[in-house]
Symmetry: C2
Subunit: 364 residues, 2 copies
């Protein structure tokens, strides 16, 4: 049987260097665990723009659609700030999400025991924290039409459209309930139904999916502003949170930062299952391209490595191998390996990106 | 000369009981500081719906437009959850904001020394925190058209429109820069210009207002998702934050919760100045109607009392009297007076809403 295929889009900033460590891990699984992948590499974001004048070439888009899974590093950087909106690095990522129809974005906000002191929150509020945010990723104000900057009378007006159909809400709600069943069996849905009609429809459809097909899962609804407060006040009250594209963008970043483990957090963006049962899927770290430290070997590769662990679990049904990799990471942290971003007030001397890779390989 | 006029809309839940204490404070300023107000009372939210079948009667709207300042308690409660969108308690508040054209919503996120331990953040991150969030309040996705739930093919779609004109951005930016000059002289503007055209226009106009008229103020721009992270990571980096209606809703609640002083935080919603130089203005606590404790004399009246202090400062040019009231509140806290919401892990026995009022009057 042919090996499963991976498309690696390392992107900009620290993307290539953290992805370099992931490639070593992939190779290890091929050598030692008989889990070989056919790996292809291509460009996205600013790197693609520099070469092709577009943040995602059509050929790359086609490869992404054909691959069993895509691994992405990060996109963007100040070099591209002045570019026109239509060719900004982010557009490459957004095109991938849209054309692969990756409607369900899983963002774990997890606090690693060894790092609980890094949180800006008091330790007892975050120790053991394990939230899964399910963010709708292909609709809402990110993609709704009309959009643009228009002339109106003597001035300009900036317009975007928040837009959700019942079926868009239905499918992401289902993915949240499915996940909850494999975790704490609790879903909290967040919107602004007190102010926005799209939020009213959201709440109604989530409730209906629940009542019809997931009555065993505990469901609650919360206004998104209160959600932001509750995340700060008592994050452990949550298990799975399901919310729309824009609220999900903000709330998941807030939750990620609560853990103090931002450089550690992976994400999975999943679409509908193919004929072979595999969902279309893209995996990427939650952190950005960190242009200020790019190319210096200082970046923490763990979020990107854990994104590959998510790929093992969600695309390749290799939950045990995913757990093996996650355990190696925990081991290494417990042993005190720290990249620069993980230096606490106690100080110490940080290891480099590739030394962190070495340590994880050794632990495997 | 006629006394300035105040319209009090106590609203729902704990609104009436906290406002009861504000009335005592208003009376004190009339008796002892020769600062008398003509006070009128009316209904808003669920209370107005119960009487008139609408969350804001036209007569009340007219009174609000005529008053020198409006003091609002809180609106909403589970009793009204099933009501049609158009008559929900929140619509009363939103109509006031819109028809009074209260475009600049000032939300201080301030950490009171005596309460720094209440924050879920580590004490050194929040002690002395003093941020002012300026939220645009009359436009954006809260009010943009088209909006509603529509049939489309075989299903329904929920639509809201994010919409900002140059002049709407211009005026709220000015109010932020003006405020910054009287504080730390720093403004951070937040949007999602990497994803939304309305954010691109927002960023451009804020920059232009700065360059033309406030070059002395330090200006930075941040994506709203990063803003949420930075608020959690290191909130003291901010002085004034200016942002749109929806981002402001979420980010200001997040910031408020960081302080640990949610029951303490006031807000001011200001419009354009009238002929007499007074802006149209509405003052209200940041907290909600807290239906779970309503009517039990447990609520903390301080946020509502400090909202009146903001009225003294921004509507009546009585900065010294505002400071007097704020000092009395700090005094009382330093002396250990605590309503139930301010009970720390050490415990102790809480005082009632009216006892907190007594204490503040005594300190005055
Ligand atoms: C880079 C940007 C377009 C993106 C988003 O807004 O979705 C990022 O913030 C994210 O959360 O993945
Ligand atoms: C009550 C509600 C309509 C309101 C809002 O969303 O603006 C509230 O959350 C606020 O922030 O004042």
């Amino acid at each position: 049987m042919a090996n499963p295929t991976l498309l690696i889009l390392a992107g900009d900033g620290i993307g290539p260097e953290v992805m370099g460590q992931v490639v070593r891990i992939i190779d290890w699984f091929g050598d030692k665990r008989d889990l070989a992948f056919d790996v292809d590499h291509d460009l996205v974001g600013g790197a693609a723009y520099d070469k092709h004048g577009t943040p995602l070439h059509d050929d790359t888009m086609a490869k992404a659609l054909a691959a069993d899974a895509v691994l992405l590093g990060a996109v963007g950087g100040p070099k591209y700030d002045a570019l026109d909106f239509s060719v900004k690095p982010e557009r490459g990522l957004l095109r991938l999400r849209k054309e692969m129809d990756l409607f369900s974005n899983l963002r774990p906000a997890q606090c690693f025991d060894a790092l609980a002191d890094f949180s800006s929150l008091k330790k007892d509020l975050v120790a053991g924290l394990d939230i899964m945010i399910v963010r709708e990723l292909t609709s809402g104000v990110y993609f709704g039409e009309p959009r643009g900057i228009f002339e109106e009378g003597n001035e300009r007006v900036g317009i975007n459209t928040q837009r959700y159909t019942e079926s868009e809400i239905d499918r992401v709600a289902r993915s949240a309930f499915e996940l909850a069943r494999r975790r704490g069996n609790k879903v909290c849905s967040m919107e602004k139904a007190n102010v926005m009609e799209s939020g009213i429809l959201w709440r109604e459809v989530v409730q209906k999916v629940h009542d019809e097909d997931y009555p065993d899962v505990e469901l609650s609804h919360m206004y998104a502003d209160n959600g932001a407060m509750q995340l700060v006040r008592a994050p452990k009250q949550f298990d799975v949170i399901v919310t729309d594209n824009l609220f999900g963008d903000i709330l998941s970043d807030c939750a990620a930062m609560l853990t103090g483990s931002l450089g550690m957090l992976p994400s999975a963006s999943l679409g509908a299952p193919n004929a072979d049962g595999r969902p279309k899927a893209l995996y990427e770290p939650v952190h950005g391209s960190a242009p200020d430290i790019a190319g210096q070997g200082k970046a923490n590769p763990i979020a990107c490595i854990l994104s590959f662990a998510m790929a093992l679990r969600y695309s390749f049904d290799q939950g045990d191998e995913a757990a093996r990799l996650e355990k190696a990471v925990e081991q290494v942290l417990a042993d005190g390996a720290r990249t620069a971003d993980l230096m606490g007030p106690e100080g110490g001397s940080p290891i480099s990106t590739s030394e962190m890779g070495d340590a994880i390989l050794a632990a495997l």
